[in-house]
Symmetry: C2
Subunit: 419 residues, 2 copies
């Protein structure tokens, strides 16, 4: 089959039902190919308008009186994320804290709920904070972390997981979409395998939410956390969410007993008496400006529909894989994501010996923004709402050009850089 | 002495060196007397301009590349709070998480540092989240919370504290300025008393920071946390700060092992290896928009100078106390804050049998915003940067008027309200 041309990509854009969504975002430089929406999504116009309302009307004019409205947001926006992107009925999701803090709260909750078990399981290449949080919790709780080997490209082989589970395992923490390879697990099947071993499952949905359909209720998932600044476009450092299945809530206790988890918050009673429902997983005062940004991000996902987003996301990454195999393989790039689109989430990683220099050159010389993941991966995360197919084509084309000109040998790779 | 007249208050404004700072804030309704800056401070014009830059330039244009700058903010802004308002040399303060989460981290740290001790001490009327966090930690760590009685108006009698300390006490958690009464402790003397018992001190500076001078380094304080949305004007739900004395940092470990505390964050190494310094107390991704707002709030405090702020704050509350005793006492109000200005922070509480109804009437009928604290207190927290003396006078005058007209008997007190 012939390698797709730019005209082929443009034809895909022409019949893309989500194409109009691009104009909903603030895109000051239309020539910049931004393929890092899985690290930090773009702001929408609606989000910035809403932020303005929140600070100029709610805060400056309403002042403390606005808390009468704001106070509902952690639960209300949680419900909206649940409905739009998690397959979760109301009353099971809150927006609160960072993903790391929520991982800590829920992994600790899981240890309490499985009080006779003392092993925490995760993959050996799980996202760092997930591994570190479990390690810290294990040290404090005299528990043990057991890591399961996962293929760095294809991710977990489900049969390896079952082999690693026994009656000491309290909880299994897994990313639905791997941060590095994009490997995409089968939520229902893995949840069932974990339950078969008598353990609880804690899903990290950071790279999945807003990109692939997630059906937490249908799969009987116990616990989940996720990030809102990637495909939900909540802005830098926006608060994370957490999910606790309804029937676990009443018996579940989380370790950080803050006033926002207290029944009748402003009664300020003498002893901690947590809310009966999901609100007991709140801790401190909610970050209002960022909550508003998250809300607008979720509304866009709801409007577009997660199935349409997934369909376009699959097609975007498929185009990228096809172009990479045809045009980048000869230049030393290897696909480091699952080739099967059913096993791949919304981003694609390529391995290259000089990945860091290539990444810098793309950003500095080619107007393409991917990101780098140590030690040798370049990660491309096109946004189904914000990116066009021609941008994927242009990114590959610009990359081919800079490699042929050797520009990656000319950039400064010394300074520590985030991307 | 004659009761101060409005002209007396206006004369104080005329010679107020901080008077020009009022124009730095966004004040859409100049007739509204806002006396709840100790719950939620106002936005400054500079803060809203900065927020606009952060979202429109840094986020929308710079996208993920802006993390190269943002990543320094939790420490850099922490240092600025330290210099402007805490008497803390650089490298000891970070902005991170909520006050509740930071209390949890540092109280846990204290228990680890005093491994042979198992008692956590706080006052019986300490702010709810402080008490609840200790209660949760005690339950998890097989420790015990010991509460020390404090006078509901005058606060802690330091001799009562020493009586309550023995060699089981690991940490004493105290608010420098009490959230309800405004009672203001002697930081150095109390710290010394706690140290004399071999315990660590953990100060909650939420109602103190930006309102009264704090000298953490000079007093040899071990640990502290505080809020940035009160006198630092960081906006609703802005992240909190924490302080760990430099010589404790290397041996201190906090319980939530997140990736932002990791040495060389983006190397994403196999095991948790925390930063050697204060950065190990970070957990997850920093909330960038709110950090920018905090930064601008701190800059205003630095520019005005904390001593000038304290001087005006004392004078504002002294005027309020004088007017309350002359004009409100006959209407059933009692002073519920220390009368001695040296023992009072930046807010004044009044007790009244119908406090809740009075509070609603002030907000709804009189254009005065104080706040209510269960069960019978009305709290007035004038801002030295944002309020004028005549506003304090007007607030009392309007309150006298509405009581005389019986308007507090006419408002709806049924609905749950935040203020």
């Amino acid at each position: 089959m012939a390698t797709p041309t730019r005209a082929d990509a443009a034809a895909l854009d022409d019949r893309d039902p989500l194409a109009p969504f691009r104009d909903r975002f603030v895109i000051p430089d239309a020539d910049l190919v931004y393929l890092d929406g899985n690290s930090l999504g773009r702001p929408s116009h609606a989000a910035l308008t809403r932020l303005d309302e929140v600070v100029r009307r709610d805060w400056a004019e309403g002042l403390v009186r606005s808390w009468e409205r704001w106070i509902e947001w952690p639960l209300a926006i949680g419900d909206r994320i649940g409905a739009a992107a998690l397959g979760a009925a109301p009353g099971q999701v809150v927006v609160s804290d960072s993903t790391s803090v929520n991982l800590y709260k829920l992994a600790s909750t899981a240890l309490d709920l499985r009080g006779d078990r003392d092993v925490l399981v995760c993959l050996d290449d799980e996202f760092p904070t997930d591994r570190y949080v479990l390690e810290g919790l294990a040290a404090a709780r005299r528990a043990e972390v057991r890591t399961v080997p996962a293929d760095p490209v294809d991710g977990l082989d489900p049969s390896r997981l079952s082999e690693s589970l026994d009656d000491r395992v309290a909880v299994v923490l897994l990313s639905l979409v791997s941060y590095r390879s994009g490997a995409y697990l089968d939520l229902a099947a893995v949840t069932e395998a974990v339950h078969a071993a008598g353990a609880l499952v804690l899903w990290d949905l950071s790279h999945a939410v807003g990109s692939v359909p997630v059906e937490l209720d249908a799969a009987g998932v116990d616990l989940a956390v996720g990030c809102t600044y990637k495909h939900l476009n909540g802005g830098p450092g926006s608060p994370a969410f957490l999910y606790v299945r309804r029937d676990l809530q009443e018996t579940a206790s989380q370790p950080i007993w803050g006033w926002w988890g207290q029944r009748d918050l402003f009664a300020m009673g003498p002893a901690y008496d947590p809310e009966p429902g999901i609100a007991r997983f709140l801790v401190g005062t909610a970050p209002v400006p960022s909550l508003a940004l998250v809300d607008e991000g979720v509304r866009l996902v709801a409007e577009a529909g997660i199935d349409a987003i997934r369909a376009k996301s699959r097609a975007l990454t498929a185009l990228l894989v096809e172009l990479a195999e045809a045009r980048l393989a000869p230049l030393g790039f290897e696909l480091a994501s699952p080739r099967d689109p059913d096993r791949r989430g919304g981003h694609v990683s390529l391995r290259h010996d000089e990945a860091w220099a290539v990444c810098r050159a793309l950003v500095e010389r080619a107007g393409v923004v991917p990101d780098f993941r140590s030690p040798d991966r370049i990660r491309f995360g096109p946004s189904a709402l914000g990116n066009r197919y021609v941008e994927v084509w242009d990114a590959v084309d610009r990359l081919v050009g800079l490699m042929e000109r050797g520009e990656h040998r000319e950039v400064d790779t010394g300074a520590r850089k985030v991307t």
